[in-house]
Amino acid sequence: YTYFNGKPKWNRDTLTYAISKTHKLDYLTSEDVKTVFRRAFSQWASVIPVSFEEIDDFTAADLKIGFYTGDHGDGLPFDGVLGTLAHAFAPGNGRLHLDASETWVVADDFKGSSDVAVDLESVATHEIGHLLGLGHSSQESAVMYPSLRPRTKKVDLTVDDVAGVLKLYGPNPKLRLDSLTQSEDSIRNS
């Protein structure tokens, strides 16, 4: 696991987030998107002593989520179908941008989806890791690994993801290590 230079982190135990009402997709309902992000945030909230609160006020939110195409003014233009799927910024900034050109899927399976379908929950969980201060991982099984195949779901935090975020924020008192996909002692070791 890695961190952004300087290991920035949030110093609050509650972070608010909002999903843009203007930068959205016409083929997914806002409820669909909210459900996906609630699940993605709860993955991380179960590990660290930070809770995430959904609010409507996009301007006031700590974390700002939206779908954008091409050059959207942050110096990191998106590139159409596939390629770069999304990006997020380090703690303190809080922006999470998803490429609206992708074919985003929220269902649990990819039945009937196109060859270039991308799982929204997998990308959301990865980008939230960046919002919390994690960089990319070298372990292909990790949520924080930079690449994601189309029509693939990867939402379960691995030991690598958890060890990295624990080092930044410490453990959630209710954290149960055995719920992770890998053995508990490898977490304790790391």
Binding site: H87, E102, G135
Partner: protein, 127 residues
């Protein structure tokens, strides 16, 4: 004779649409390209690696026009080795199939710069 041309032009149009909707970078034609060779498409690979922090602007190869050359030089070999190390691939410095396949996959737009040795030679990576 209108029909054949018409058919042909339609076929071409279909082909262009098909290609433009396809995966973003298809580097498959660069598999096993050797250091020192000059192959069309190497410059696009350099742009890709530059985008994610593996090739600097001052790579000696970055012409003033902002473009890279198609020469597979030593700097590119080092950049590929670093990419392979960071992405958990066997570090060969060569464009082997697994490396090229991974580069052709969709990915997060956040640069890998934070995984790379910084100026003081200190890894910003916590292992």
């Amino acid at each position: 004779r209108n029909l054949p041309e018409e058919v042909e032009s339609t076929a071409k149009a279909t082909q262009v649409i098909q290609v433009s909707n396809n995966t973003w970078h298809d580097f498959s034609r660069l598999v096993d390209v050797q250091v020192g060779s000059h192959v069309s498409g190497v410059s696009e690979l350099k742009r890709y690696l530059h985008r994610f922090g593996y090739v600097n602007d001052d790579g000696g190869d970055h012409e003033s026009s902002g473009s890279f050359s198609d020469v597979f030089d030593g700097r590119l070999e080092s950049a590929i080795s670093l990419y392979q190390e960071n992405l958990g691939l066997p570090v060969t410095g060569r464009l082997d199939t697994s490396t090229v396949n991974l580069m052709s996959l969709p990915r997060c737009g956040v640069s890998d710069t934070h995984m790379i040795v910084n100026d003081e030679g200190i890894y910003t990576t916590a292992h």
